[in-house]
Structures are given as C-alpha cells and as structure tokens.
Symmetry: C2
Subunit: 495 residues, 2 copies
C-alpha cells in the first residue's frame, strides 16, 4: 500500500505532481476534534457574518482560478472551458448561500402564543433550526470543483454553521490541495479540514465528533459509507448521491431527427461522466437511426481515472456481446491514454421489461440504450419499476400533451426532477432546484445536494418553551431584530 | 409461541378479552400491497379533501370515545381522566393536520423564473413536496391513543397523502382493534391497515411497498427495527423516538421547597411512563430533602405490562443496592398486580460525572436521580456529555438569568426542546412544537413526531423544469389556484 495519494494525467496515464500523504487515524482524530472545538464560535456567528465569510471565500477561489483550473485540467482531462464554467458555478453557489443566510427564512422561525383553553394546553413555543455540528464531506471524482473540496456540500454545511472536514477524492489530489489552501486561508481555524486516502474516510464517518455526512459517488462506495454511518453506536444522517439511470421518454410527436443532436451532446458531455447523463432513452423505433448517426458523429475523451476507463470498456463490451441488445453506433475517441468512445445500443421494450435489472445497470461514461416502444401507454408500468433516479425527462410535441401528463405521473414516483423538452445534464443552482430522488439516486429522498434547500440537511429544530425573550436566539425574539420571515400562530409573514 | 396477541388488565394481571390473531407474512404482504394500490388515488386527492376526511376521522373517534376509553383503561390502567384527555388530544391533533393541509405552505411550493445570463443558466424551476408512499407506523405502549393506531404518526402520514399500515402494540390489542375499526370505517379501502405481533412488524419494515416508517418505543426495540430498515436493499427513512433522560437543572435562586410538588407530579404522572419524564435533576443539595418529601407523599400505580413492572423493580433495586447513589425516599403504591412505587435517589455531581454512562440508563417508570452541585458553571461539561434527549429544563429565578443562558447553550446541543420554569411532561400539539432530539432521543435529529412539521417526514421534493403550466400540479401553476403561500424567486409570500 502506497503511503500517498498520487494524481495522474488521464491524457497520458503518467503521474502528475507530488503524491499527497494519506491521513493517519490520529491525524483524522486531531482534525475532527479541531472541528468540534470550532463549532461553538462558528455556529454562534450571526448568519449575516457567515454570509460575508462565504462571499470572501467565493472571491478568493475566483482569484485563484488560473492555478485551480490548470491543475484540475491536468488531473481530470475535463478541459479548460468546462472547468472554467464549473469553478464559476461553484463560487456562484457559495454566494447563493450568502443570499440564503441574509434572507433568513431557512431557520424556519416559528412562534406560537399560549392557549390554555385547548387540549392539551399550549404554552408559548418558539422553534428554530440550529446546526448539527461538524460535517464530513466526501468529494466526487467527476466535479473537481462543484462537488468537491469547496463544492455544494461544503458550502451549504459551512453556511448552516457547521464546520466541515472534507475527504478528498483520489482522482484529483493536487486540485484538492490547492483548493483546500484557499479555503483554509479564508475560514477561521478548525472550521475547515481535509483528509486524504480511503481509510481516512472510513475513520472520519465513524468519528464521534462528526454529526452528519455528505457524499457524491458510486452506489457501491456510497453504500459502504452509509452502512458505517448507520452502524455507529450513535447513527448520524448520511446524505449520499449515488447512481442514476435518468430515463428520457421521447413521445411520438417529438420523435424527429432534429432531437438527435441534443441527445448526443448531453450523452457525451464531460465524457458522459455526469450523474444526470441520459443513458436510458425510450423512443419510437423510427428515431433510432437518427440518434445513432448523432452518436457516431460525436467524440469521446479520456476518463477521470484508469479504473473508470477499464470499467466502462468492460461493461459496454459485455453489453455489446450479450444477445439482449443491438449495437446502433459508436463515436470516435482521441488518441489519449484513458480515452473511451461513445456507444449506443438498442433493445425492444418487451426485452427491456424482461431484463430490467440487468439493463438498468449504470455504465458510467458516454453509453446509452434506446428502448423502442410503439404505444406510450405501455411505458407506464416499466417506468414505475425503474430504480430511483435523479431526473426523468419527457420530449413532447403539443399533440403529445395528454401522454406527457401520464408519463410525468409515473416518473414523479421514481425521479427527483422532471424535465420537459430539454436534457437533464446541467443542474441550475437555485431556490427551487432539487437534485435528489429515491434510492439509489440518493440515500435519503427528502433532501437535495444542490440548491438553496440543501442547507436543510445540516440543521435541526430546537423549540424553546416559555423562555424569557432576552435569553432567546435573536431569530425568535419578540421584536424580530433580524427582520426575517417567520410563522406566527400558523401564519407566514415578516413579523 | 402463542398464535394470538393477548391483552391483560395490569391492575389484576388477568387476561382481558379475546386474543387478537398474529398477522402472517402473507397477510402482511396483502395489506402492504393494498396500501401500495391505494397510494395513487389517496395522494391525488386535493389536500383540502384529505383535510375533510381527517375531520371526519376525528369526529368518528370522538363519537366512539366511551368504548375506546373504557377498553384502554382496562388494558393500560392509565385511568379514565388521563385517557379522556389523551383521546381528545389525539383527535385535536388529527384536526391540526386538517389546518396544515388547508393552509398549504407544507408543500413548500417554490417557483424560479428563468435566467439565461447566470452560470449555470437557470431554466424555469418549480419545486413541491409530494408523499413518499405507504408508511409503517409502530405504536407505543404508553400512549394507547396519541402515539398508537390513530396517533400522530398515522395522522401526519395520512395527511401527507401516504397510506398507513400500523403495527399494533402488544400492551393494548383490544384498544387497537377498536380504534382500527373506527379508522377503517372512515378511510378509503387500502389507505389504512393494521398488523399484530412482533414478527409482522419485522416483515412490515422490510416490505418493498413500505417507503418510510415511524416508531415510538424503547431504544432496543427501535434500534432493531432501524437496523432492518437501513439494511434493506433500498434503505428507507426510519423515524424512531427512543430513550430520553430529560435533564432538569434547578438553579440556585429557584431551589426553594415550593418547586418540589411540581417535580413529584411530573415524575409520577402516568406512573412515570412518559418519554419526557424528568428522571434526572441537577439541584443544590439544600433542596434534596424537599424533593424527597414530595416523592414520599406521591403514589405509584400499575405499569402497562408485566415486563415493564419487572424491569422497573429490577433496575431500581440494582441502583438502590449500588454504592454510587443514596436512596432519598420512596412513594406509595396501590395494591394492584403490576403496581410500582416512585423512588428518588441522589448522587454528588463528581460521582455522577465519573459514572455518567451507568447513571444515565433510563429507568422507565417513576424513578428519579437528583445530582447535587455547588456551582452551575460545573454543570456545562457534564450536560454536554449527556446522551441526546427530547427535553432539557431550567428552573431559574431572575437572579439566575445569566447562568440560565449558559445552561441553555449547553442543553441545546443535546435536547430538542428547552423548557423554562415548567416541567417537561405535557407536549403541546402546535406549529412550533419539536418533539425530537439527537440520538438516542430519536433516530433522526431533523424531525419531530409531534406538531405541524411532523408531516415533513413523509413528503419529498420533486422539481419540474420547463414544464407546461397545464401539466403542473395546482400548487405550482402560474395562477396559484389553491391560493397557498409560495416562494417566488426567493421571496416568500402569497402569490
């Protein structure tokens, strides 16, 4: 076993930069304990002051963009244009949480007046959400910024008042080191820490000081950490975003050749290494050849690491060799060490239905299966049987609206986000975003890892009963000194 | 193994009424499948129509109050006055959820307009909370109405649009049968089911049709079911309310003899069989004799079942025999089969601190430990080390206010509800209530089993992206036809 986490250049397969020492158990303990010590002061800062710190963090990351993007491009081969957008998305996300803190309704301040005449009698009750404590964040491979060291889990947890200890992903150790350097330079001592190596992650999620965890990655890796978190003497909330098949239904009226280019672009974006990659398409047979031509004209690229590359090749080769599906087309690939090419398969609905488990295995990368159908009504039962998924997409012409309603009703039981006449890749950072879904899309269908409400994962209610006004948190005091939206005797407002 | 669940009269120890057949695995499967079939229609009912059904349910239970209360009194020995209040509390709770549905903000409707100029670009996003699917509810022994067949878990899940399958508690099978008869007479076919026997509960929580579970009971029983729920191929949310030590701090200015009567009443209410029983009191030594006199003057009663009675006697005998604590006083008990007497112990803070784990074991029943201290500042570290608890209470005079603030800051990390100059028993049903807390008070610190927000446990977000207005749920349509509070571009209001 190596004592360092070594980064590589996926275009050449060569090591990149110095390896980063794996974090020992005693170092994990020291970092988690420092986070616990920092929890009191950080969580006691007024929310608007935490918002100012988040703005500074966003500015500092933007100021280091050149180094961060260059490093990440070498380690991930995702390309400078994509990484430039991803870093901007990451800093905008941090700033959104500043907005959330300043608006203030995220604490759900709720005030009830007394009513001695009901059963049971009601004393004065005041409820507010408070941060849980130090949070462990497990970085993803495929978003070296947006779902990594300074990504959405980290930003939302810091915003809530929780210190964060990140477990860096082994696919981009140098990017993690550089990002962590920026984060640590802005945040107070102990509020942010980082650990390296698989074993450090296992120690972290079981550490008594850690009160919740966030994860983005594979179903296998996520399940293993979920099991450790739930197996603790004191189980903790574990928010994992795992695998997702992202079904897309192309209804008959929308099944025209001009849809094909958008599909191929979404399927192959970032070498298909998106959790919202539309790898499973239900379409009339008439459109298969157009989809195939678009994929044939598309290019692949180097995958994030050698294991993913090998795994994609093995699993798509096995699929191609099986007698269940037909190969439609194959795209091109650059001459790079860990490069793969897009692949498209097709299967009739009846065969898919009879082999649903096998044919819904995720092939992480730019591979898609087109399931051909004749009547949209036949899709309802199959869609309801799909595993939980982050997204479900419908392409429809005006003539398809009735069918679209039926398909949406089936999809909403299995998917966290329903998309109309667009493609699922590209996850906006907004108040109304939901990036989640039933198992195995996530480990907890109530929560999202993107958007304003992702902060809800790290805060829990406390109710103050008959408490003197001057001893209450400001969010709950009579005068509403923070001027935040509150609910009083059941009525929402700014009072 | 008996094939029936047999009820008993705790006052006589004799069997009561016919045993209720244990539910077989195939019956559990049939009932859970019926709940799954009922999910579509029940969740599609407009919320205001579900509210009307809940009102009818409350009325029907009130109309059957005589039979329900008489049956429950025989099976639980909790007494007609208490059970009359508890049933009224239960029906008022059901009606509160009608209010919650009519007010409408519980779905957190959130609308974002498009903004193509930000990174990443934002399409039109509309987020709403939708019910998860059939819910398993595990009844408690100590509240045959409020936390049982038609209790808060059932009411909140039905309100959310989820069908419910209850696992009846073995301490009151006949009460469960009679309550279930009323519930089933009001609700549509399949929306409500009930199963009997320990094995049926294990089958239920692992059934593929069940999408979430609620539980109120012991730490051991809750942990076993939690582990089954998390060990499923598809883990489901499991909301358990388990054990709670409910620390009370009597600050020096409040340490006067007139506090003692309130303490003894709260400690012995319902024979101490309350999850918010104040069994752990931190007080100046000067007040111990007054507390002891009040407990000596108090009466015990018959416990809910023989096992609890035996367990209380054994655990308090062992405590009395240990050299860690001193017996302060013992109350009286009626001459009934499973009756126990209140017991009060005392221990100095230093001894308590050194034996914290042993001395915070829950003695379910009317037993209390007074931990004597000299300086309130010495309490902070000890309070922070206590296990998670539903409540934390402070008794303070005006001269204690500074100390009260320090104590509250320590308590809010371990307790879900903080109470000032009152006792923790009695949990109001309100918008601002929180009946939860860190492990082992509950399995998930983010949620409550009492109050308006308990509905949040059974609903999860779905976001509609670029979706045609006429195909959206009414909560999200442009015209806001339900006239509910919504958030638009980050701003809460009724628009």
């Amino acid at each position: 076993m190596s004592s360092v986490v070594q980064g590589f250049n996926p275009r050449t397969g060569e090591p990149f930069g110095d390896g980063v020492p794996k974090t020992s158990d005693s170092e994990v303990d020291r970092i988690a304990s420092a986070a616990a010590a920092a929890f009191g002061p950080w969580s006691s800062l007024p929310a608007t002051e935490r918002a100012d710190v988040l703005d500074s963090l966003a500015d500092a990351l933007d100021a280091s963009s050149e180094l961060l993007i260059t490093t990440a491009d070498t380690e991930t081969a995702l390309g400078v244009p994509r990484l430039t957008v991803e870093l901007k998305r990451t800093t905008n996300q941090i700033r959104l949480f500043g907005e959330v803190l300043r608006e203030g309704s995220y604490v759900e301040a709720t005030l009830d007046t007394a009513n001695p005449d009901i059963i049971p009698p009601r004393p004065v009750l005041r409820r507010v959400l408070r941060p849980l404590g130090p949070v462990a964040v497990f970085s993803a491979s495929n978003f070296p910024f947006a779902f990594s060291v300074a990504g959405g889990d980290t930003a939302s947890a810091l915003a809530s008042g929780c210190p964060v200890v990140v477990k860096a992903h082994s696919a981009h150790p140098r990017t993690s080191v550089e990002t962590a350097r920026v984060v640590a330079s802005v945040l107070p001592e102990g509020v942010f820490g980082i650990v390296y190596g698989t074993e450090s992650g296992r120690a972290l999620v079981q550490h008594p000081a850690i009160k919740a965890a966030g994860f983005t990655g594979s179903t296998g890796g996520g399940r293993a950490l979920f099991d450790l978190a739930q197996g603790r003497p004191d189980p903790i909330p574990f928010y994992g975003e795992l695998g997702s098949v992202n079904p897309t239904v192309i209804l008959p009226g929308a099944a025209t050749p001009d849809i094909a280019a958008g599909f191929a672009q979404s399927l192959t974006m970032g070498v298909g290494q998106f959790c919202t990659n539309p790898g499973l398409v239900f379409a009339p047979a008439s459109i298969v050849s157009a989809l195939g031509e678009a994929v044939a004209a598309s290019g692949g690229g180097a995958m994030l690491n050698e294991r993913m590359c090998d795994s994609y090749r093995a699993s798509t080769d096995a699929l191609a060799a099986s007698d269940l599906v037909t190969v439609v087309s194959t795209g091109t690939k650059p001459d790079e060490a860990w490069a793969v090419e897009p692949r498209l398969f097709t299967v009739p609905l009846e065969t898919f239905r009879d082999n649903l488990e096998k044919l819904t295995e995720e092939h992480f990368g730019p591979a898609g299966i087109v399931v051909t159908y004749s009547d949209p009504a036949d899709l309802v039962d199959v869609l309801r049987r799909l595993p939980g998924t982050l997204t479900g997409t419908v392409h429809a012409a005006p003539s398809d609206h009735e069918a679209a309603g039926v398909i949406a009703e089936a999809l909403r039981h299995i998917a966290g986000r329903l998309i109309f006449n667009a493609w699922p890749t590209g996850v906006a950072v907004a108040w109304g975003q939901h990036h989640g879904g039933p198992w195995p899309a996530t480990t907890n269908p109530l929560h999202t890892s993107v958007g304003a409400t992702s902060i809800r994962r790290w805060i829990a209610p406390v109710t103050y009963q008959s408490w003197p006004d001057e001893l209450l948190p400001p969010e709950l005091q009579d005068a509403n000194p923070l001027n935040i939206p509150r609910r009083i005797d059941g009525v929402l407002g700014t009072h």
